[in-house]
């Protein structure tokens, strides 16, 4: 394995930023790191780079310990930080020349070609470059090496859509050369487009390890069916998960769809919709978004008194002592949507027979 971590743990005082992280990344793949802010993605990358010393566990790149054999490990990797800062007094061309002198596998001609590809003005001093231009320059530095592992921490942040697409193409080219890319991003579509394997992190822990080829073969089928029990045939029951909410049915199917569509013909279904199960669904399972309180716009009745309706998922009881003027509190006595009402609409998973 090209990159390996064993029970990696990093604590800052009493706060655990990374906990028991064990990973193995093979050559020639694009490995995605996904998670919200503070999930531990950057901490993991910084441990791999030897910037942070782990509280316990170990990390190796190309067989070299990231903390005891840092220079050898760094010969095998190249890194683009999330917020790349370069030397303000240098011009773009000088920055590329400097880094090409710093490592033997970084060629100035490659960096210049990349700069041309990104349409970057190298005659400008870094101090006078915009954030996007700086990011492009850092990408030229990072991607012009022939390192076995390329670590990109949010590489497309601050980039325009053209360059963003170019970066994705370059990542694909690196993969085709048999090199490995570790790609950390918040942009699900990018991860979905480019990664072969994705790890989802939450609060310093790896919560999902996904093979994108498998995920891409999964689909979700929505349809309406008459009330009554739906029985999934045994021969493909292991590939199907069924959720039902009244007449609304949702099937999560892995593998070929042909057999399931044939079966559905006999169910008298209507309003059929098929969609791939994207990374979004998996991500949402790991990180349920906090629902914002919903408040409808006030309606003015004939007497001229405004009436507000709304619901808050966290609010379970209506306060009988609430003031009569509905505008005086954000969620007044005449609020709509208690937890009981919300539960009525929740999907119930049926047994598959």
């Amino acid at each position: 394995m090209l990159v390996q971590t064993q029970n990696l743990k990093k604590m800052f005082g009493g706060f655990t930023a990374l906990d028991d992280c064990s990973l193995s990344i093979k050559e020639g793949i694009v490995f995605g790191l996904l998670g919200p802010n503070g999930a531990g993605k950057t901490t993991l990358l910084r441990c791999l780079l030897g910037f942070l010393f782990p509280s316990s566990g170990a990390a190796r790149v190309n067989g070299y310990d990231c903390h005891k054999e840092t220079v050898k490990a760094h010969q095998s990797l190249t890194y683009l930080p999330g917020d790349a800062q370069l030397f303000g007094s240098m011009k773009g061309r000088k920055v590329l020349r400097f880094f090409s002198r710093l490592r033997s596998d970084c060629h100035l001609s490659d960096a210049l070609q990349l700069a041309e590809r990104f349409d970057l003005d190298l005659g400008r001093r870094v101090a006078f470059m915009s954030t996007g231009m700086r990011q492009k320059l850092a990408l030229c530095v990072c991607l012009s090496t022939r390192a076995k592992v390329t670590i990109l921490d949010e590489p497309t942040a601050n980039l325009d859509p053209t360059v963003r697409g170019e970066v994705i193409r370059i990542v694909d080219e690196i993969r085709k050369q048999g090199r490995t890319v570790i790609f950390s991003s918040h942009v699900l579509s990018e991860i979905e487009e480019v990664c072969d394997r994705v790890v989802v992190m939450r609060r310093g822990v790896i919560v999902r390890d996904l093979n994108m080829a498998e995920l891409k073969s999964k689909h979700r089928v929505h349809f309406q069916a008459p009330l009554g029990k739906i029985q999934v045939p045994k021969e493909f029951a292991s590939n199907v998960t069924l959720h039902r909410n009244g007449s609304q049915v949702q099937l999560d199917v892995s593998g070929d769809l042909a057999f399931i569509l044939n079966w559905m013909v006999g169910l008298q279904v209507s309003s059929v919709r098929v969609e791939p199960i994207g990374l979004r669904s998996v991500y949402d399972q790991c990180h349920r978004p906090i629902e914002a309180p919903h408040v409808d716009l006030p309606k003015i009745d004939s007497s001229g008194i405004a009436e507000v309706s709304g619901h808050c998922p966290e609010m379970t009881e209506v306060d009988p002592q609430a003031p009569k003027n509905p505008l005086s509190t954000p969620f007044p006595a005449k609020a709509r949507g208690s937890s009981a009402e919300l539960n009525d609409g929740v999907d119930s998973k049926e047994d598959i027979e």
Binding site: L49, F51, F53, Y79, D83, Q85, F98, L102, V141
Partner: protein, 320 residues
Amino acid sequence: MNGALIRKNLDESKWLMLGCFMAVIVICAVRIWIVSQIETSNFRQIIEWLPGDLEKLSAVPFSWIITYPGRIALTYQEPIIILCLAVWCIARGSDCVSGELGRGTMEMLIAQPISRMQFLHSHTFVTVAGVVLITLGTFVGVWLGIELTVVHEKIYPTVQLPFFQEELPLPFMTAEERHTPMREKANLMLFVPAACNYLAFGIMLSGLTAFMSSWDRYRWRTIGIITAFHICQVLTKLLGMASTDFSWVLYLSIYSAYEPEVAVRIADVQPESVWQFWVNMDGMVVLGTSGYCSILLAFGIMGFLAAGKVFKNRDLPAPT
């Protein structure tokens, strides 16, 4: 060390280095020109009027300070000459870790196949090279001053006192103007020990600043701490010199080892002992030029070693 990093550090600091170098040359030369403009005899009168207690604030006797070598030696105690060196040492010393961290440029550098020690040594090399260049600048300034200036003296006719074997000047008679080149009044080589003391002082300040920078993440805080240290040490030295009751605090001030005028006096008065660690002078055994320089260099080297140790074992936080 790494050639590319040295080039980069030189490139970043060249204007500051050249600025300090030129400034010390000009200031030293101008100061010696001013020395040449005021006759020593005028100072003798002033010193006679000064209260005797003031002499304890000086590391050398006033009677020697008013000589040409003494007055030129005080160039190395000029606040602006010390400031030029301090600006260089603090600016470069604070930049090495907390400066790069604060700017966010550390990540791209340390992610390359270079060790942290290579990074630090390359920085230290340029800082020390700057200290050497600025010291050289002071020496060049002193050399220019000594070579280019001429002392204008008024020599009054004298009369020999019959019984006292002394000559008494006759100020009411017409004086003879005499122009003597400064090089005949002060030998340039007398100031080599002072320059060495200045160099050691720069290395001490750079080492301590690098140490502060190695554990910090904010450059402004490093500069603040080292400036406060500088002020406290100067005040401690002044307190120790001003009061005999507090003379022991001189041992607490690293600045007690920065005495360029003492080094010049030893070279002037006891040239045979100029490079000795201990010197027997005025009936007392005191530290010599080597003693002063060794103490300062020891602190500087310890600072750089501690900086290396701290930097090698610390976490590098993400830029804020």
